[in-house]
């Protein structure tokens, strides 16, 4: 007989450190945040030890918060859409490149991730500012200068810049698994290059695009540094709102409430999206 006790304990031992780490750094803080969100708060005496739902009610009934949530959703969705529109063709071109160009361009795509978020974002604020390079160029050609910095446009531009690798890489991986002859087969059957891409290549990278979109959406919806630096003080997104509640208003329970609502909303949107697209893709790709 084979002794069973060591074989049972091995998976636990292997998974143990990771599980402990996860519990201590993710689950515990989340639980504390959840508990905190139910505490009452008073401006003169601080956090009270009484249970209340008032923060949740305040947030979902106040247009100020709802507008910020709506803006967050809009910016994250737009960023995801733009990343897909730019990233998928980019991944396709990348997959058709030969070394050494492929390595060079892969580095170019990952580039934004290698630069510190503060430096990168300040770079954008210099480019997009009222006397930035973009406006100087516009004036040079006789156009009136436009206000980009401290608008949603600036946030979307900077987010798309840094999120692109998260779209390109999953799509590129999906493309690499593709039999290159499948595209050739479409050509021999009379499809033009464009039709072959649309009818044959694209449907097969849906899953890569799905995982890319989920990453991009999740990260964009919870982005902090980019909206904080390019959105200015007035144009807030969910993450900057939470920051302000904690550090400006010192209303920790309310900050915790917003954080939990954002988390739940994000989770719901991503799960629903995943369900919808994956169900379709799985049915055909297996």
């Amino acid at each position: 007989m084979i002794s069973r006790s060591p074989t049972i304990s091995i998976p636990w031992l292997l998974a143990g450190p990771g599980a402990l780490f996860f519990a201590g750094l993710v689950l515990l803080p989340l639980a504390l945040t959840l508990i905190l969100s139910f505490h009452a708060y008073d401006h003169s005496t601080g956090i009270q030890n009484t249970f209340t739902l008032s923060h949740y009610i305040a947030v979902v009934t106040d247009d100020y918060y709802l507008e910020i949530f709506w803006r967050t959703l809009r910016i994250a969705a737009l960023t995801t859409l733009l990343c897909a529109v730019i990233g998928v063709p980019e991944a396709y071109i990348l997959s058709r490149m030969k070394d050494p160009w492929r390595s060079v361009f892969l580095l170019v795509i990952i580039g934004p991730l290698l630069v510190s978020v503060v430096v990168r974002t300040f770079g954008w604020s210099m480019l997009l500012g009222s006397q930035g390079l973009v406006n100087q160029a516009l004036q040079l050609f006789g156009f009136p200068s436009v206000r980009i910095l401290y608008t949603e446009t600036a946030i979307v531009i900077a987010l798309v810049h840094v999120m692109l690798p998260f779209m390109v890489i999953p799509v590129w991986t999906a493309l690499q698994k593709l039999d290159p002859m499948v595209e050739a087969a479409a050509w021999t059957l009379g499809a033009s290059h464009f039709t072959a891409l649309r009818r044959v290549v694209m449907p097969q990278v849906t899953l890569g695009m799905l995982s890319g979109s989920l990453i991009v959406f999740g990260l964009s919806a919870s982005a902090f540094a980019v909206p904080a630096l390019l959105g200015g003080r007035r144009l807030k997104m969910a993450a900057t709102l939470v920051y302000d509640e904690y550090l400006q208003e010192l209303n920790w329970p309310l900050g915790a409430t917003i954080a939990i609502i954002v988390l739940v909303a994000n989770l719901c949107i991503m799960l629903a999206y995943n369900r919808m697209v994956e169900a379709r893709a799985r049915r055909t790709l297996g």
């Binding site: 039999d179 002859m181 499948v182 050739a184 087969a185 479409a186 050509w187 021999t188 059957l189 009379g190 499809a191 033009s192 039709t195 009818r199 044959v200 449907p203 097969q204 055909t284 790709l285 297996g286």
Partner: protein
């Protein structure tokens, strides 16, 4: 009237010449195989015909029309890829219909032609399955149906049977031939399997290092290979190097009676004799005495290796139901001198 013509077609990749000066004419309705070891340029040739690669030099014409620079989607040839290259996200019927859709065939006619194509490859009941739900042989037949449904002037098959197991491969050989006969489509098949090429083609083109070395009907290719490489690549053979003596071939100290009208006495030659052309006789009664080194039972036949003064010879004899000589026993080899084939030059094994 030649249907498909390749004139001095070459393909270079940088400094490497994959295909060199291929001249080939194919008649309408013919089934031609491109046969050769891997890297001989046969797939490159097929891809140039399909339009997936552009020849560096030369001209390809189809039915009198120059198609050398034409894009693959304008040529309208049917191609079956080695990997089948089915569209995984489409059903069998959608895969087959794709080419018709690209040709804007009306819906009703499209459905009818897909149905016909699927019944031709005996897959009518699988129309709504996805490729991943099919076996290798079924996928292969979908690929054939997809290529044939567009009624292409030429059907190109790239190693169509190499991903199938032995039994299925044999079945599909017959199947391919049956379909080709029925539809009458001019067909070019690339293969590295000589048995496959011999069994289903009208003509076989042997390629070696990017060059065409012999174009012949299967039977003639087998019986009269033009060089030692072909004789050992197409079927099994015994190759012996020696010198031509006018009325026979001298191998070591033995002279074997043969005829070779074009070869000057004293020239180096290679002698080839097929294992099945040799007869086993009692010791002392044949042309060449030897001793059985080993024997293998293959069911329908016995395969012997026999040690002789000219070297080790392979002999195969049909299984007649009685026990043949055992290992170590003396035997004698006999043959008809007409079955000895003499080729100029020294042998290079395949």
């Amino acid at each position: 009237m030649a249907f498909l013509t390749l004139e001095r077609v070459s393909k270079e990749f940088g400094t490497f010449t994959a295909v060199r000066d291929v001249d080939l004419t194919i008649e309408k309705g013919e089934f031609v195989s491109l046969l050769g070891p891997s890297g001989c340029g046969k797939t490159t040739t097929l891809q140039m015909i399909a339009g997936l690669l552009e020849p560096t030099h030369g001209r390809i014409s189809l039915d009198g029309r120059d198609i050398t620079r034409e894009k693959p989607n304008r040529r309208g040839l049917g191609v079956v890829f080695q990997s089948y290259a089915l569209f995984p996200h489409m059903t069998v019927a959608q895969n087959v219909a794709f080419g018709l859709e690209m040709r804007r065939v009306p819906q009703a006619e499209r459905t009818e032609r897909v149905r016909e194509a699927l019944s031709l490859v005996q897959l009518s009941s699988f129309a709504d399955r996805y490729p991943r739900q099919l076996s290798g042989g079924q996928r292969q037949r979908v690929a054939i149906a997809r290529a044939l449904v567009i009624a292409p002037p030429v059907l190109l098959l790239d190693e169509p049977l190499s991903n199938l197991d032995a039994k299925l491969r044999e079945e599909m050989q017959f199947e391919l031939r049956r379909i080709q006969r029925k539809v009458g489509t001019t067909t070019i098949m690339v293969t590295h399997d000589q048995a496959e090429a011999l069994s289903i083609s009208d003509r076989v083109v042997v390629m070696e290092n990017g060059k065409m070395t012999q174009v012949d009907a299967p039977y003639r290719l087998y019986e009269q290979p033009s060089n030692a490489f072909i004789s050992s690549f197409v079927g099994k053979t015994n190759l012996l190097s020696g010198t031509w003596r006018g009325n026979g071939a001298q191998i070591g100290n033995v002279v074997l009676e043969a005829s070779a009208p074009d070869i000057a006495p004293g020239a180096p030659i290679t002698l080839s004799i097929r294992p099945e052309k040799i007869l086993l006789r009692d010791a002392g009664s044949g042309r060449l005495d030897g001793r059985v080194l080993s024997r293998f039972f293959l069911g329908s036949q016995w395969l012997f290796t026999v040690e002789t003064p000219v070297g080790t010879m392979t002999v195969s004899i049909p299984n007649q139901g009685n026990e043949p000589p055992t290992e170590g026993s003396p035997v004698s080899l006999d043959w008809s001198p007409a079955n000895l084939r003499i080729m100029a030059g020294t042998a290079t094994a395949a």
